[in-house]
């Protein structure tokens, strides 16, 4: 294995998670806030009589679309251009950023309002544009909060879920001049609204993400709750919509499946407050659609991990994940955290994100809430195999598994090792048995060490009967 491969990971999830857990009250608050969203999702999905069939349909449509993605992309671009939109294709993040910058620069635009787009976060568009003299304002309330704090989002749907309202009150007092000590959500939201209204009016262009792009019509659909994407796309003359290639659906009628699943899975709402369809630019305006690959076609070529390209970014896997709820979005060190992030991140850079596939108890709850039936916990398991295959598992863990594998291949060796452990451990002084080597015993007692094994009990049971 090469030295670069053994370099420290970008972020060790277990260590970051331990820091999060150390603040017990906040970790429990975070867990409960997200569990509340999970319960809302349960209730909202429960009123749809054919929920499981909808999930089947969504998975089927996505699998079909991905199986002929190139054809649908061409159809989409043709139809979008026929409606007057300008379609740009970007191979990677750098091309995406350059395209967006060129559109703004050619028109002399220096102020951009953005409505939440995970893709532009993935491409690190904000710092790129800011370095070139463009003021970028995120306009979703949560996004604006993390932008003012100079932080990335900690969740793809609830970007500021890790921040308490009192902390937002302090931030807004410093940044927007709200009253000191005020933390009433209604008051703070109104302050943000007034502040953002000004930004919308000043902006030369609005950038939005895309939830669905329809091949058959050439339209794009954006789902939001705050209406800011609608403000950003209608007040300025130029609208830039950025999408990953996987956002395609073949027909308009497919939305009947996805729109019923998306908001229910994400926040437990029957549908998002605003579902806006853009078919071409408005009469005096421009609509640019930037279609980005950035590693997606490589993922599509991988027969194990291609299913995770079906993700519609609802965040349900994060809300249900018992590990995410107790470790926070930042512990993943990737723009998409949680179970889906643990699959996507190592796909980008396996070495940097090698701890993420192990940040899961493999409980499988994510796979069961996923509206497009991605077998998330099995893909996480498959990534572990990939990490080992590439020599990225730290050697003490690799060595432990080699030894265990050897011991368990021979019944006599297994019995001898078991016998030794059961005799030796109870005989050790407590300080030694619960020494630094024993991660299990830091907070837990070791299991009992009985003198007789089941094999012995079985023999005496047979002797009696």
């Amino acid at each position: 294995m090469s030295p670069t491969e053994q370099a420290a990971p970008a972020l060790d999830h277990a260590a970051a998670a331990a820091r999060f857990v150390a603040n017990d009250a906040k970790a429990h608050w975070h867990d409960q806030a997200l569990w509340w969203v999970r319960k809302k999702r349960d209730a909202a999905s429960g009123v749809v009589p054919d929920w499981e069939a909808l999930r089947d349909a969504a998975a089927g449509i996505k699998a079909h679309t991905l199986s002929r993605l190139a054809e649908y992309l061409e159809e989409f671009a043709r139809n979008a251009e026929a409606r007057g939109a300008q379609v740009h294709f970007a191979r990677d993040a750098a091309e995406h950023n350059a395209i967006v910058h060129r559109i703004l620069e050619e028109r002399g635009i220096t102020r951009l309002v953005k409505s939440k787009s995970m893709l532009t976060e993935e491409c690190h568009l904000n710092p790129y544009l800011e370095a070139r003299g463009i003021t970028v304002t995120d306009t979703d309330l949560g996004e604006r909060i993390v932008q003012l704090r100079h932080e990335p989002p900690s969740h793809i749907v609830l970007p500021a879920i890790h921040i308490k309202k009192e902390e937002i009150g302090e931030l807004f007092h410093a940044e927007l001049g709200t009253e000191k000590g005020a933390s009433d959500p209604k008051y703070l939201t109104e302050a943000a609204r007034q502040h953002l209204r000004q930004k919308f009016l000043e902006a030369g262009a609005g950038l939005t993400g895309v939830n669905f792009a329809i091949a058959e019509t050439g339209g794009v659909v954006v789902c939001t709750n705050e209406g800011n994407a609608d403000m950003g796309s209608t007040l300025p003359r130029v609208h830039i919509a950025c999408m990953g290639v996987e956002k395609l659906v073949p027909r308009r009628q497919d939305l009947a499946v996805f729109l019923r699943l998306l908001a229910r899975s994400a926040t437990g709402q029957p549908v998002t407050t605003y579902t806006t369809h853009f078919h071409g630019p408005r009469p005096d305006g421009e609509l640019h659609i930037v279609v980005v690959d950035n590693g997606r076609s490589r993922q599509l070529a991988d027969k194990v991990f291609r299913r995770s390209l079906s993700c519609i970014r609802c965040g349900a896997c994060m809300n249900t994940c018992p590990v995410f709820r107790r470790s926070g979005g930042y512990s993943y060190g990737f723009i998409v955290p949680g179970p889906i992030g643990s699959i996507l991140a190592p796909g980008r850079d396996a070495s940097a994100h090698r701890t993420l596939p192990f940040a899961s108890s493999l409980c499988g709850s994510c796979s069961d809430v996923c509206p497009v039936r991605i077998d998330l916990h099995h893909e996480i398991w498959a990534w572990r195999e990939e990490i080992v295959r590439r020599g990225l598992l730290p050697w003490p863990k690799r060595a432990a598994m080699k030894v265990a594998g050897l011991v368990l291949r021979f019944a006599w060796l297994y019995r001898l090792t078991g016998w030794l452990a059961r005799r030796l451990l109870p005989a050790l002084p407590r300080g030694l048995a619960y020494g630094r080597w024993n991660a299990w015993g830091r907070q837990r007692e070791l299991p009992p060490m009985p003198r007789r094994t089941f094999r012995v009990l079985y023999r005496s049971h047979r002797d009696r009967s």
């Binding site: 277990a14 999905s45 192990f358 108890s361 594998g405 019944a411 837990r444 070791l446």
Partner: protein, 250 residues
């Protein structure tokens, strides 16, 4: 007479032999002939789900060799049965006897309900019991509907427990959240693992449980480790032991 190969997971064989014995007694009491292949060690799950396929494969092959002759294989564990049923394909696909092995390996409660078709266990267990839904039993073997899915509610373990005389099954706030054991996860991610475990224990305590039961001793071993460290009055008991005691008391 139905012959069953008894599959006793390695850590149960070594650390919780009474659970194996309770499984054996239960099966025999219901007219099953049980054989325990003595050379079994481990199904290979810890290596496999750490990604170490090279180490797991010989153990899967060994398992097939020891168990392929049986009509049924039964184990007091949802997780290890799931290993055989759902994760051996990569190691054993196409090998003679593997298809049969995969189809005929059962978790104990599942075997009692689906194969023996017991309408109920005649027994008494006058205690307040919290049922911990071990994840692999629940979501990989589908021993129950699970709170995530919108399907008709069912639960094979609860079905067996609820018919016992005097038992009070407590209602949990989070009916099927993971306890945080997760195999090597319990030491790799020790901080989160223990927080998850403590949260589960608190849920059972609030619901008034005296005993926490479940199909996987590994989850219970983790919970018990936390319970004993904090000297809580709660007890853990594998469902095989609970059913065996209840039946013996009847």
């Amino acid at each position: 007479m139905l012959t069953v190969g008894l599959f006793v997971p390695c850590y149960i064989e070594q650390l919780y032999p009474e659970v194996g014995l309770a499984t054996l007694r239960l099966l025999e009491r219901h007219g099953v002939r049980v054989e325990y292949p003595e050379d079994q060690t481990c199904c290979g799950q810890p290596m496999s789900n750490s990604g170490c396929t090279t180490e797991a494969k010989p153990l899967a092959e060994r398992f097939l060799r020891l168990f392929r002759g049986y009509e049924y294989v039964v184990a007091p564990s949802g997780s290890c049965v799931s290993m055989v049923r759902n994760h051996y394909d990569g190691f054993l696909d196409g090998q003679p006897g593997f298809d049969h092995l995969k189809r005929s390996t059962y978790e104990l409660c599942e075997f009692l309900v689906d194969v023996l078709k017991l309408p109920r266990i005649e027994g008494a267990f006058p205690h307040k019991v919290g049922l911990h839904q071990s994840c692999h039993g629940l979501r990989e073997l589908r021993l129950g509907a699970g709170s995530e899915r919108r399907v008709a509610p069912f639960n094979k373990v609860q079905l067996l427990l609820s018919e016992l005389k005097g038992i009070q099954l407590v209602e949990l706030a989070r009916q099927d959240e993971c306890c945080g054991f997760g195999g090597t996860f319990s030491v790799n991610e020790e901080a989160v693992s223990c927080m998850m475990g403590r949260d589960r224990i608190a849920d059972h305590e609030r619901a008034g449980a005296e005993i926490v039961t479940g199909v996987d001793m590994s989850c219970l071993m983790h919970l018990d480790g936390l319970i004993r460290r904090e000297r809580k009055p709660l007890q853990v008991m594998h469902v095989a032991e609970l059913l065996d005691r209840a039946e013996a008391a009847a």
